[in-house]
Amino acid sequence: MTKKTRIGWFTFTCCEDSTIMFAELLNIHYKDWLPKIEFVHARVFRKEPKGDIQPMDIAFVEGAIMSDAQEVKLKKIRAQAKILVAVGSCAVTGSPSNARNFFNQENINEIKDILEKFKYKEKVLKLADVVKVDEVVPGCPMNEQIFLAVVNKYLNASR
């Protein structure tokens, strides 16, 4: 039996639109993909395995980085993934989750207490600000065709 490609799907701060796009793409691709894929991490589909981040062939990561804890987790994902794919606009560019990076002082003052209380990072970061990103799937939500091209490239390459 051919070895399955080990996939992780991770979400940081965003609206999870790319997760939904992925869930809709599964509607027509699941028969082809499921025999080839092992979902090692995918909180939307299953309980996370106990313990730390597991080794993966490909980690798909959506969302922007808002906290130190998120930054640490992203670095762990990077360390365990052969390929890291930034998925969707917030992961690729930071926007629109990084709106507060561009707030004027009046708006900053309104949210200051929350930023301090929950220890938000001073600026919202895109993934490439924190780790090396191998592939990007831009779009808000992610561009379906670019995503399919990335999936096909690595699913076929790793088999």
Partner: protein, 437 residues
């Protein structure tokens, strides 16, 4: 009743198979719950601030980004608020096409919740993806999952341009209209998925879960004569009737110190919104065919058993199929209506619809220059957050009365309960309090 002292600490950083991130901490000492915190763990993106001073025409697409899951609910509520502010009455055709776009959301979003999130609990599986292809029932359900979702997906693509952040709906109409022949082609697929969803209702009805709350809870829902989710009047289970524009004054904001998002009560009382309250308050307005096919299950409502939210959502999928079918069958033509650019005046508008997870409220204050002065958005999960925590408390308390549950037993039961509620954390964490002067 178990003997001796029983102590347990449970800390769930991220609950699986829900929309977004929520956390739960439970401290049990001497067989009693000493502390229990259900918190929304999503980091805020401050959309309420981000929309300030932005042009009104750009706001619907921006606030749609609050939530990918129910983006088209935010989109249509925001458009409704702007049209309310600017005194715009959309055409009959626009109203009908918005209903179709919305039913597409109900089909695919409820199907995602019922099949992908909740159904594995019934079969004691970790994931729908673990369903056994060699077991005929599980094999069929796995395939039904994707087939049902796909019909909703296709209806959304045709009417709105995309399932997520639909690009075509706008103020006073659509940027691009669907072709009538494409909509007609969807009719057979709607009929193919209908019996699959009826089967899903039967499975949930046979499941042994009962999450009936002892605490008094007020159901709240926007009720319309055609159960269209987009219009009507707000009703409550204690007999109140509230105009959309007055809804806000009944909601009391509650600061939850350990949660990134705020909760709400209904004038200080526990409240619940979503499919279960909608059926409790408005089941007589479901499509006649839906009522006929689901009659034996509709008898279950009204109910305070929150597990029935799964069945309520599946019944709403049937209603969405039946009403969409009727609308498409009756469509004679889709007229090429020219979009009129709205006249901007200084104004305030309110939009209220029933999002998949409950009543969604948008309020916008527009300046004479066409820029947003202020906005307020209250999402369903904010209104449900306190009752969810209360429900978890009652559930764990009951388990402790019966014996000494293991950590995993408590976690599984609590996660099952939270999933039945179908909370959406992405929605809940977008905002910050707004003080209206």
């Amino acid at each position: 009743m178990h003997q001796g002292n029983f102590n347990l600490d449970i800390s769930l950083e991220e609950i699986s198979k829900i929309e977004g991130a929520a956390s739960l901490d439970i401290k049990i000492r001497n067989n009693k719950i000493e502390d229990l915190k259900f918190a929304i763990a999503e980091w805020k993106r401050f959309y309420t601030q981000a929309i300030k001073n932005k042009p009104v025409m750009a706001i619907p697409q921006l606030v749609s980004r609050i939530c990918g899951t129910c983006s088209n609910a935010h989109l249509l509520t925001n458009i409704q608020a702007i049209e309310n502010a600017l005194n715009i009455t959309p055409s009959e055709q626009t109203v009908v096409l918005r209903k179709l776009l919305y039913y597409a959301l109900i089909i695919r979003d409820h199907a995602l919740h019922d099949y992908v999130f909740s159904l594995p609990d019934v079969f004691k599986k970790g994931s729908i993806l673990d369903f056994d292809e060699n077991d005929p029932i599980q094999h069929e359900l796995l395939h039904d999952t994707f087939e049902v979702k796909e019909v909703g997906n296709q209806l959304a693509i045709l009417t709105g341009g995309r399932s997520v952040h639909a690009p075509m709906p706008t103020i006073n109409g659509f940027l691009k209209l669907p072709k009538i022949e494409d909509l007609k082609k969807l009719l057979p697929t709607l009929q193919i998925i209908r019996p699959k969803v009826i089967k899903l209702i039967e499975i949930f009805a046979q499941a042994p879960f009962d999450y009936t709350l002892k605490a008094p809870v007020i159901d709240v829902a926007l009720v319309s004569k055609d159960f269209s989710f987009l219009d009507g009047i707000i009703k409550t289970s204690d007999g109140q009737t509230i105009e959309k524009k007055d809804f806000r004054q009944y909601l009391d904001r509650v600061v939850i110190p350990y949660s990134h998002a705020k909760g709400y009560t209904f004038k200080g009382k526990l409240m619940a919104v979503g499919a279960l309250p909608r059926l409790n308050l408005g089941k007589e307005y479901l499509h006649p065919k839906t009522k006929e096919s689901t009659a034996q299950y509709l008898k279950l409502f009204p109910s305070k058993n929150f597990y029935l939210n799964n069945i309520a959502q599946a019944i709403e999928i049937i209603h969405a199929i039946d009403h969409s079918t009727e609308i498409i069958e009756n469509l004679k033509e889709i007229k090429n209506e020219t979009l009129q650019r709205p006249t901007i005046v200084e104004s305030v508008g309110v939009g209220v619809i029933e999002a998949p997870r409950g009543t969604l409220y948008h309020k916008l204050e527009i300046g004479a220059n066409g820029l947003i002065k202020r906005g307020e958005i209250i999402v369903p999960t904010g209104q449900n957050q306190i009752v969810i925590e209360k429900g978890i408390f009652e559930l764990v308390d009951r388990m402790l009365e019966k014996g000494q549950p293991t950590k995993d037993e408590i976690i599984n039961e609590v996660e099952n309960f939270i999933r039945a509620f179908d909370p959406c954390m992405s929605c809940a964490s977008h905002f910050l309090k707004v003080n209206w002067q």
